[in-house]
Amino acid sequence: MNTVTHRPLVPVGRVFWALLRRDLRVARRELPYFLVRTTLQPILFVVVFGYLLPKMNFVQRGYSTALLPGILAISLAFSSIQSVALPMVQDFGFTKEIEDRLLAPASARLIAFEKVVAGVLQGLVAAVFVLPIARLIMGPIAGLTVTDFGSVIAVTLLGATAFSALGLLMGTAIQPQQIGLMFSVIVAPMIFFGCAYYPWQGLSAVPVFKYAVLINPLVYVSEGMRGALTPALPHMPLGFVFLALAFITVVFWIWGLRAFERRAFS
């Protein structure tokens, strides 16, 4: 008679760490491409609107103060989305590569959660990369302070988490063939109407826009960055920003997890 013996269950933290190490290994290998992909566009924007136009006196000097937090917000948000959504397309592609992780002794929820955490970390890398470059191009920025360090961290983490959760949703709910379309139809409008290039208060000039853009999660990251980095400028109250980002995170996480499980199981 045969006896089936089983090893004890692997602690959840250990599986999580192994999954995260795998994503970090892959991310590190692709770091240069990743940075170019996620930060080139915001940096080019900084060159034109933060350097050239002020030199030509087309925009006021103070514009760079309004621009910098928005540029950080874009880098953070879209590197987070991309680092979760794009690999997911390959993971759930023709051969369903993610299967070796779905067969790991962990729940699907843990595997999805790890993807979001990896997205947050990559978002942070992009933001930290962009900040000094933008500052260098734009020169001294009036009103930029990091005295409220706690708020900076809170906005950054919450923003990255919200957008990583959105990346989970996009990467699993959208068909692989349509991922390119997703970037032009969803991501591009999000950037332009995300209050990244102008403060939200400025939209009072066009009230319809001022309230319509509130469905755009990027607005809260941009305004949160303003509140934390350039508090002298008009910005949304930080408390409201935190609340909105937390709400958005929960909604995208629940929705994204459901989409992930639908793809993972049949």
Partner: protein, 320 residues
């Protein structure tokens, strides 16, 4: 935990949701009851669409059953999927390695997911690569190795965490004959180590050569379950004679049963199938009958009793 059954399914049913305007879903499994003993080499045999892959999918927690129960190595696949995953290794139908990693990394990370310390994992990975003839390819990217090598990588990956139950879904599809024989040898070795192996296949020969017991499934139902030898003994008596005619064989089949030695006769398309104890004698009688009915015989084929002939007698069609 100790148990004698490695796998148990009861009234297992799976209906895939309707899609593309079809009102009802696709029934993949229709009440499957299976028991696989610990240490057994078990085969699931059936044509494409028989429900084999769905069965493996449910047992490996990736497909959720519509109803019924299934347990693997003592753990329920629906209620304790994590415990099941801890105890199984899976070789999928199509190799699905992690393409962002190298060959060796595929093994090391998979081991890490199972909590195996990195030193132990490295030693085991090197040994598996050696045994599977991949020792030189450890640093290669997955895309740089051949399909057969990827298949062997999948076997190494399924083994690195030393599972008690190993699932292989059509592991030899797409392999050349030499690679197929090499894989058979590997599987025999794993079985000799005492591992439970469940393999799906639509190759009769494979099931016959490797498995201790074979379940024949079709349309999501279990048609027969026994050792290959016992199943072959259950094949309808004697040799299968297949006559291809230049017209409808139905009128010939009617009277074929009166030919001395013929036990049974059916029709599929232009082929008349008869099972006979003394094939030489029966063939002559059948050809004469066909001529009397105004049909010419265009092809004759004989098959000795086999899983193949059993399958055909159970389902009325060929396996592939």
């Amino acid at each position: 935990m100790t148990t004698d059954a490695a796998i148990r399914t009861r009234a297992l049913r799976k209906v895939y949701p309707a899609s593309g305007g079809k009102p009802s879903g696709i029934v993949a499994l229709e009440g499957l009851d299976l028991d696989v003993r610990a240490g057994e080499f078990f085969g699931l045999l059936g044509p494409n669409g028989a429900g084999k892959t769905t069965t493996i999918g449910i047992l490996t927690t990736r497909v959720r059953p519509t109803s019924g129960a299934a347990s693997v190595a003592g753990a329920d696949v629906v209620k304790e999927p994590v415990a099941v995953k801890q105890r199984i290794g899976v070789v999928p139908q199509r190799p699905n390695p992690d393409r962002s990693l190298t060959v060796l990394e595929n093994l090391l990370f998979h081991a890490a997911y199972f909590g195996i310390p990195s030193k132990v994992a490295l030693a085991r990975a090197r040994q598996l690569l050696e045994e599977l003839g991949l020792a030189e390819r450890g640093a290669a990217k997955v895309d740089e190795i051949s399909g057969g090598q990827q298949q062997r990588l999948m076997i190494a990956r399924a083994l690195i965490h030393e599972p008690s139950v190993l699932f292989l879904d059509e592991p030899t599809v797409g392999l050349d004959p030499q690679a197929r024989l090499a894989l058979w040898e590997i599987l025999r070795g794993l079985h000799a180590e005492g591992r439970t192996i469940v393999m799906t296949t639509h190759y009769m020969e494979e099931a016959d050569r490797l498995c201790e017991r074979v379940a024949i499934v079709d349309h999501g139902r279990l048609l027969a379950l026994d050792s290959p030898g016992a199943l072959k003994a259950r094949a309808p008596g004697g040799t299968l004679i297949e006559l291809t005619l230049d017209g409808d064989p139905a009128p010939v089949a009617e009277s074929a049963r009166t030919v001395p030695g013929v036990l049974r006769a059916d029709v599929e398309g232009a082929v008349l199938r008869a099972y006979a104890e003394r094939p030489g004698e029966a063939i002559a009688g059948l050809i004469k009958l066909a001529e009397q009915a105004g049909r010419a015989v265009t092809h004759v084929a004989l098959s000795p009793p086999s899983l193949e002939t059993l399958f055909m007698s159970l389902t009325g069609r060929r396996l592939d």
